[in-house]
């Protein structure tokens, strides 16, 4: 299933990106090469010899909407700079200005580094004496294949994020794996196993009695319930390692692993995640009861589903426990 979903995500990304880009091309969403009429106002007067002249750029809402064929409300005044060189004049919108679409997209594609939308000015004539404003036109660089570029950028970005995330776990992983090793060697884990296995074995019937995996699972689930996310992951990974040591195959999940995953993805927790508390503030107190009801029910569902799916023919056939029996028989 993961194979299909994964491939589906990638293929659909390409299909949708292509469709969006073709639509943009055929509708000429970005009006490539066309000239957008603007009103340039010189607050402190116009000086032809000055290289950088501070200006305000005015857009007429109706002209803008007609020009780009959009209907949303548009801010009409922006600050900017007029750059004058012997090659001509260039208008630059202020860095990070709150531009309306599609200008914001044009900026993100054409001025990735400085984030200031810019383009050559055409039809410029110095303002008449006593006037501070002139009308002129500005053209922007061609914008094509926005989505195609952005899916490649996203793929690279997220690949980097994945590495950062994984490496960020090293500290917590090392700490917990060290502590767990002590718990193992000192016999503490064994006591946890003996104390809790009557319950845990019901969910994980394939694990032999007194196996350390049972203790790791208990620790992982308790950490989850108490909202100790930093501790829960290392404990869960340690539990997975123990389960893997019982796995007759190398690359196929056992029923116990799926059950552990089910309990973790449904994440039965009595303490809401830190980030949610930060976002919701005091409101979280009202939501606690709802969260506990929902998390409990989805946890029960996950357990039932894990057991139920385990009985389906296609998952019975792939069960590593059965595979080993076949080999032995």
């Amino acid at each position: 299933m993961l194979n299909y979903i994964w491939a589906g995500l990638i293929i659909f990304s390409l299909v949708f990106a292509l469709a969006a880009d073709v639509r943009d091309l055929s509708a000429d969403t970005y009006r490539n090469g066309a000239t957008l009429p603007v009103e340039i106002t010189f607050q402190s007067g116009y000086d032809a010899s000055q290289r950088r002249v501070p200006v305000t750029v005015g857009l007429s809402e109706t002209t803008f909407r007609d020009f780009y064929g959009v209907t949303h409300a548009v801010d009409t005044v922006f600050s900017g700079t007029l750059i004058q060189t012997s090659d001509g004049r260039q208008l630059r919108f202020a860095e990070d200005a709150a531009l309306p679409e599609p200008l914001a997209t044009i900026r993100s594609v054409t001025s990735r580094r400085d984030n200031d939308l810019r383009g050559p000015v055409v039809g410029f004539a110095p303002p008449a004496v006593g006037s501070r404003a002139v009308t002129a036109g500005v053209t922007f660089d061609r914008v094509r294949f926005v989505k195609l570029n952005s899916i490649s950028a996203a793929a690279l970005d997220f690949a980097e994020t994945a590495v950062t995330l994984a490496l960020g776990l090293i500290g917590a992983l090392a700490l917990w794996m060290g502590l767990l090793k002590i718990a193992e060697e000192s016999g503490m884990l064994h006591s946890i196993v003996r104390f809790t296995q009557p319950v845990v074995l019901k969910l994980f019937p394939e694990i032999p009695r007194d196996h350390p995996a049972l203790g790791m699972i208990v620790l992982n689930l308790s950490a989850n319930m108490l909202g100790l996310g930093n501790a829960a992951t290392p404990l869960g990974l340690k539990a997975m390692e123990e389960l893997q040591s019982l796995n007759p195959t190398e690359d196929t999940a056992t029923n116990s692993m799926v059950m552990l995953l089910a309990l973790n993805t449904a994440s039965v927790q009595l303490v809401p995640p830190v980030i949610l508390v930060a976002i919701m503030g005091l409101q979280i107190n009202q939501l606690m009861i709802a969260i506990i009801i929902v998390t409990f029910c989805s946890g029960v569902t996950a357990v039932i589903m894990a057991k139920l799916f385990g009985r389906f023919k296609r998952y019975r056939e792939t069960d590593p426990a059965n595979a080993s029996k076949v080999l032995e028989g």
Partner: protein, 180 residues
């Protein structure tokens, strides 16, 4: 509810120091060479983190691409009429779809909804409940199976997604019951 929460919070505060101090202390009493054993175990931390990188890259980049392409928005729009028919408000659909895919994305959605609908809105309550009551299924699968090199995940994904879906439906109905 508030006293219950305070109690749990208090327990969570004490559990960590109790374990971090308690495990080595118990080991010392049992005459375990605690420092050596700790270092021995901690060595594994690095390997595990490196082991999960390929799995995490595979999952995260595909989800990132899917969002960037606009396909996710299309999916959300397409689902609006269908889930509307079973009484789920369209406002919370983005949360339902993104919750199993990305944790940071779902947090961003809650924030966005607060800006859009206000903190007291019932939609924000629903979304926050969904956020708080489930985990990022794809991330958990990548990390947990990645750590032990399991590539054939069998029914783990369908089970996780069904549990997410149940949480999504329940969040809507429980919040309606309590605040609606």
């Amino acid at each position: 509810m508030e006293t219950f929460r305070n109690l749990i919070d208090l327990v969570s505060v004490f559990v960590l120091p109790a374990i971090i101090v308690g495990f080595p202390l118990y080991g010392l009493i049992k005459k375990v060479p605690v420092y050596e054993v700790f270092v021995d175990g901690a060595k594994e931390g690095f390997n595990v983190a490196v082991m999960i990188i390929p799995y995490l890259v595979a999952i995260l980049f595909s989800i990132g691409m899917f969002r960037a392409s606009g396909a996710l928005d299309f999916l959300i729009d397409g689902l609006r009429p269908i889930v509307g028919a079973i009484g789920i408000p369209a406002e919370v659909i983005p949360m339902g779809i993104i919750r199993p895919l990305t944790g940071s994305g779902s947090a961003a959605i809650v924030l966005d909804m607060i800006n859009q609908y206000g903190e007291d809105s019932i939609f924000v309550k629903m979304a926050a409940t969904m956020f708080g009551s489930t985990e990022t299924t794809f991330y958990v699968i990548a990390v947990y199976f990645g750590a032990v090199n399991i590539r054939k995940t069998r029914h783990a994904l369908p089970v996780g997604l069904i549990a997410d879906f149940v949480a999504f439906l329940l969040a809507v109905f429980v919040i309606r019951l309590l605040f609606g």
